[in-house]
């Protein structure tokens, strides 16, 4: 691990001022991604601003019926929060399917949004990686790529976004609230992440020093009928080969509205808008789900070891929709 200096931020201002104008500075929250990557020398901040003392630890109801989640709310606390479990079960389920109990106790909401890929080559500084070192090449493309993405890839990067939580937030149309030099910003999650394109090193819209303060979930009357389904190589404590977060508004057996996002297959938490469109107005049932799954995987591009993900992802979407439909809204 490269040397760094450490400082605790006492409040928002001291956090922002600690990082502004310091290109090597980084915020430290739960540490589950950052410390891991620092040990691998993938990230080498020269200064850590510990933001865990910041008071964004509350989950509060918003006036319009939505919910605001403080950036420092730990994943386990969020997952077990009554309001999340009843109103947004998909989020609770996604969180509880991620990582391990210990990691969930550490990881924060804000930090989870900024989780980095588990691509083997990104995590190994001895191999080329465009995300880590722009222009050095992509080792995964012709390497071992069973865990890699099939949606949103570019010729420069096929790394998968690893988060479960973010998939649920994407399905829920969450808004990310930030604070930076230019004041507060409110960013819809679907505009928060970049696909790799020509610049895999740019993963999201955050400006240097900009700090996530909260995540807001909009009021959505049908999210009680939502579900997260994760498929992985062991029964627990593994990243998704494929996952789906879905919410269904079914009235009289007809789908009025739908949300579908996928994990384990995209270079970012993958919102399947076409699949949602394919569902709306259809009778809830296998045919509609199958059509949606086909639409969701349209344009998927596979590599040597991950071709199976296309079919697996379709089936995951179908399963998630089937399970969600069985819930009472």
């Amino acid at each position: 691990m490269h040397p760094f200096s450490y400082r605790q931020a006492s409040d928002e201002q001291s956090a922002l001022s600690g990082v502004s104008g310091q290109p090597g500075a980084a915020y430290l929250a739960g540490g589950t991604t950052l410390i891991d990557l620092m040990k691998l020398d993938v990230q080498k901040p020269s200064q850590l601003i510990d933001i865990t003392p910041l008071p964004w630890t509350k989950i509060t109801e918003l006036p319009g019926g939505g919910v605001s989640i403080g950036a420092m709310v730990r994943n386990s606390d969020l997952a077990h929060s009554e309001i999340i479990m009843t109103r947004y079960p998909v989020l609770s389920e996604a969180l509880l399917s991620g990582a391990s109990p210990q990691l969930r106790k550490m990881a924060t909401t804000g930090g989870n949004l900024l989780q980095r890929t588990r691509c083997y080559y990104f995590r190994d500084i001895t191999t080329p990686c465009n995300k880590r070192e722009p222009g050095s090449g992509c080792s995964a493309m012709d390497g071992y790529n069973r865990i890699h993405a099939i949606l949103g890839t570019s010729k420069h990067c096929i790394a998968t976004h690893p988060s479960d939580m973010c998939v649920a937030l994407t399905a829920l149309d969450a808004t990310i609230v930030t604070r930076g030099a230019k004041g507060e910003r409110r960013i819809p999650i679907n505009e928060f992440y970049f696909t790799p394109g020509d610049h895999p090193e740019r993963e999201n819209v955050l400006e240097p020093g900009e700090l996530i303060t909260a995540v807001e979930l909009p009021a959505m009357p049908f999210t009680g009928r939502s579900h997260y389904r994760k498929v992985r190589d062991r029964a627990s404590y593994a990243f998704a080969l494929s996952s789906a977060a879905v919410a269904l508004d079914i009235q009289g057996g007809v789908i009025k509205d739908a949300r579908i996002a996928m994990g384990g297959v995209g270079t970012k938490p993958w919102r399947a808008l076409d699949a949602e469109k394919a569902l709306i107005g259809k009778t809830a049932g296998p045919d509609a789900y199958k059509a949606a799954a086909e639409a969701a995987l349209h344009g998927a591009k596979t590599h040597k070891d991950n071709a199976f993900k296309v079919e697996l992802a379709k089936r995951t979407v179908i399963r998630a929709l089937t399970m969600a439909a069985q819930k009472t809204a």
Binding site: H2, Y120, T127, S236, E311
Partner: protein
């Protein structure tokens, strides 16, 4: 020598070292607080073949806290270089070719090429990252399929013959009505004990070396280090009180051990060297990948008429290890005609090594899957097929078994499992939740091994005893079972016996591998205990002041530390009284115990049967184990509690092998891509269902004085095939390439 009553042996006694383990007090190799300790961190290669052209250590040298950076260019030359020299590969674990900075050659990725020694761990790790390495790279051989044309025949397959041939295969095949011919493949797998390899080395002057090492064999470490550093054996001491898992990878002396000693010597301070998890993928062995061509032919009644098992596995380019997968096919079933062979393919990876049931684990996967395929082909029950071909004697050597309870294992296992409820057709059973239900079974087996071992038993004036043997406890319960054996032999309650191990200052014992510790060291401990007890009895008989004076030893027994007259149990005296009156500091016996002729006269094996139920999601392909039942005939079980745990552990290891374990090299660089526990999957708690273990009663008076066959490895055998067979039964998909992951069945 009198046989003693068994008061302790067999009982489900809690581990004597349990309290230390649950309080964090058990000290592992990296946990000895030595004054003035320096920390070493290894630098490893990032290419698979070539040589180190240049190492720029200037930044590391200048980094804070750095004491020394050792490279192939500046490392001290060792008196006896264990590096590769052409033609020098013997394949014996004690002769491993090591990478200890004596030259700049690189034979595999992640090979040791340097060492940073610093005041703190953080400083050493950082400095190691500052070293710039330039290579002269050559094209490595990384693909077994591509290199198979260059396969060669090794001199032996472990301790077994490389090839065997009996009967007439062609006529056997002609007599058959059904034939299965398939290729089964298994990938590289890594042991991944939870405790990383670690060595703490301390020099006392120039010629006395002590190492605290995470090892399965302290005497092996002593031997190799004394040879490399040209020291008398008595000047090298290896200590290993607790080992956080080995499974074979800590059975050899690997490069880091002499490197730690070299580092300590060159900085004149104690040095601790722990491998990172990533560094455990290459330099400390792994299970090689195998390709196994199986043929089994049978008549319509199921009688096997011919079989063959041709096996390929990879070894390194500079040393040799054979995964003897076909050995199990030689002994498992009657087969009048049979051919088996082992071939090796040299690849640019580190040297593979023994990994829990080497040979038997991938071997039983192949033969026991082929048997399942044969059963389907014959429309015969898999258990019936195995019974039809039951080997009453060792089919290869024709020697009788010292004991064999496999028939009983099939029976007990099938009953406990409810095998009779199975409908044979694939996809014919479903669980209430709609998942496909599959049931599969397989046979398990492992040879019985024993080596010479020594032990010391000492009765003390306070009526307690201590017993020593320089063996290891890998969590196998050695501390506990040896205490039980010694207590019974000495006629003492277990609370008054202290058993010590893990130190070359103690009597010599073999490596804890091959499931031989109970048989080897256990026999020595028993015989030493009996000898000390007999000595005490003789002293009492000869002492005119003893109430036992003048009696005959045959009339006496010892219980609870009291020597007494069998016919008159209140007549006698305690060890303590005897020793006090005699003014002795102790009564002791040190003996060596060796195997006899039994191996030449009998075939020595454990057997078992394992039954597995899986539930498979019909769409998503997720395989979940529902329950596992295993029945084993493994001789005497010395501690019912720890014995059960060991079998459960073996089965869980098999679950990993069957369903997830897979060391994945990058096809271009030979660098293991999943060299961490996040991506090298081993089973987690949620993967493991109820595991029901039964030991069938088996009394074997031939194998060794304690009657134990060894249970460290049999648990992993068979279970892999049983899982695969259950998955086939559930889904109709036969996976012949491990691991059985969901992408292979959707």
């Amino acid at each position: 020598m009198n046989e003693t009553m068994d008061a302790a042996v067999g009982k489900p006694m809690d581990r004597v070292d349990g309290r230390l383990k649950v309080t964090g007090g058990a000290k592992y190799a990296a946990e000895f607080p030595l004054p003035n300790l320096a920390h070493a961190v290894m630098i490893t290669s990032t290419i698979a073949k070539g040589r180190v052209a240049k190492m720029d250590t200037s930044a590391a040298d200048a980094a804070p806290g750095v004491i020394k950076v050792l490279t192939p260019m500046n490392a001290p030359r060792l008196p006896n270089d264990p590096s590769y020299s052409p033609g020098g590969a013997s394949g014996r674990p004690q002769d491993r070719k090591l990478s200890v900075l004596q030259n700049s050659a690189v034979y595999y990725n992640n090979e040791p090429i340097g060492l940073v020694i610093a005041e703190t761990l953080e400083q050493a790790m950082h400095a190691a990252a500052l070293v710039q390495v330039e290579y002269k790279e050559e094209k490595p051989a990384l693909n077994m399929g591509r290199e198979k044309k260059n396969a060669y025949k090794p001199k032996a397959a472990n301790q077994e013959p490389t090839d065997t041939h009996r009967g007439d295969i062609t006529s056997g095949q002609r007599d058959a009505s059904r034939r299965v011919e398939q290729t089964y493949t298994t990938p590289m797998e890594n042991h991944n004990p939870m405790e990383p390899h670690a060595t703490t080395a301390v020099w006392d002057g120039d010629d006395r070396l002590t190492v605290y090492d995470a090892t399965q064999g302290v005497f092996g470490v002593q031997n190799v280090l004394s040879r490399i550093f040209a020291l008398p054996k008595s000047n090298v001491r290896c200590v290993s009180y607790f080992v956080g898992g080995g499974f074979g990878c800590k059975g050899s002396v690997w490069s880091h051990i002499p490197l730690a000693a070299m580092a300590a010597k060159s900085v004149g301070r104690p040095v601790k060297l722990s491998l990172t998890r990533a560094q455990m993928f290459g330099m400390v062995g792994y299970r090689p990948q195998t390709e196994q061509d199986l043929m089994v032919a049978a008549k319509s009644d199921g009688a096997i008429t011919a079989s063959s098992h041709a096996s390929w596995s990879n070894t390194s380019t500079f040393d040799e290890f054979v995964e003897p997968t076909a050995a199990v096919t030689r002994i498992l079933y009657e087969s009048p005609a049979q051919e088996t062979s082992h071939r090796l393919v040299r690849l640019n990876y580190g040297t593979p090594t023994f990994m829990r049931a080497p040979g038997e684990s991938p071997g039983t996967f192949a033969i026991e899957t082929a048997m399942d395929e044969l059963a389907y082909s014959l429309k015969m029950d898999p258990v019936q097929l195995r019974l039809r071909n039951y080997a009453e004697v060792d089919p290869e050597s024709k020697k009788p078994w010292s004991s064999k309870s496999l028939r009983e294992c099939y029976k007990v296992g099938a009953e406990k499992f409810g095998w009779d409820k199975r409908t044979p057709a694939p996809r014919s059973m479903t669980a209430p939740d709609g998942r496909l239900l599959g049931m599969g079974m397989a046979s398990a087996t492992y040879p019985v091994r024993r080596s010479a071992a020594s032990a010391l038993a000492r009765l003390l004036p306070d009526g307690t005893a201590y017993v020593q043997a320089g063996t290891q406890d890998l969590g196998t319960g050695t501390y506990t079972i040896m205490t039980q054996i010694a207590a019974d032999a000495l006629g003492l309650p277990v609370e008054r016996v202290r058993f010590e191990l893990g130190d070359t200052e103690m009597p010599e014992t073999p490596v804890s591998g091959g499931s031989q510790t109970a048989a080897s060291t256990g026999s020595a401990v028993k015989q030493a205990g009996l000898a000390a007890r007999d000595q005490a009895v003789q002293i009492a008989l000869a002492d005119p002041s003893s109430p036992l004076h003048g009696m005959s030893a045959a009339d006496l027994d010892v219980k609870n530390g009291m020597i007494f007259v069998k016919a008159q149990p209140d007549k006698g005296e305690t060890y303590a009284e005897l020793i006090a009156r005699q003014k002795l500091p102790k009564i002791e016996a040190k003996i060596q115990s060796k195997p006899g002729e039994e191996k030449n006269q009998y075939a020595l094996h454990s057997f078992g049967a394992v039954f597995v139920e899986v539930l498979v999601d019909p769409d998503l392909g997720e395989i979940r184990l529902n329950r596992i039942v295993g029945a084993y005939g493994a001789g005497r079980i010395l501690n019912a509690k720890t014995g059960r745990s060991q079998l459960i552990g073996g089965v869980v290891y098999g679950v990993g092998m069957a369903m997830m374990e897979h060391t994945i090299p990058d096809p271009r660089t030979g660098r293991i891509v999943n060299r961490d526990l996040g991506e090298y999957h081993v089973p987690v708690n949620a993967d493991i269902p109820d595991i029901d273990i039964t030991f069938v009663d088996e009394v074997d008076t031939i194998i060794n004085p304690v009657g134990a066959k060894g249970i460290g490895e049999i648990g992993i055998t068979g279970v892999v095939a049983a899982i695969g067979n259950a998955v086939y039964h559930a889904t109709g998909v036969r996976v012949r390439d491990l691991p059985i992951t969901l992408d292979k069945i959707i």
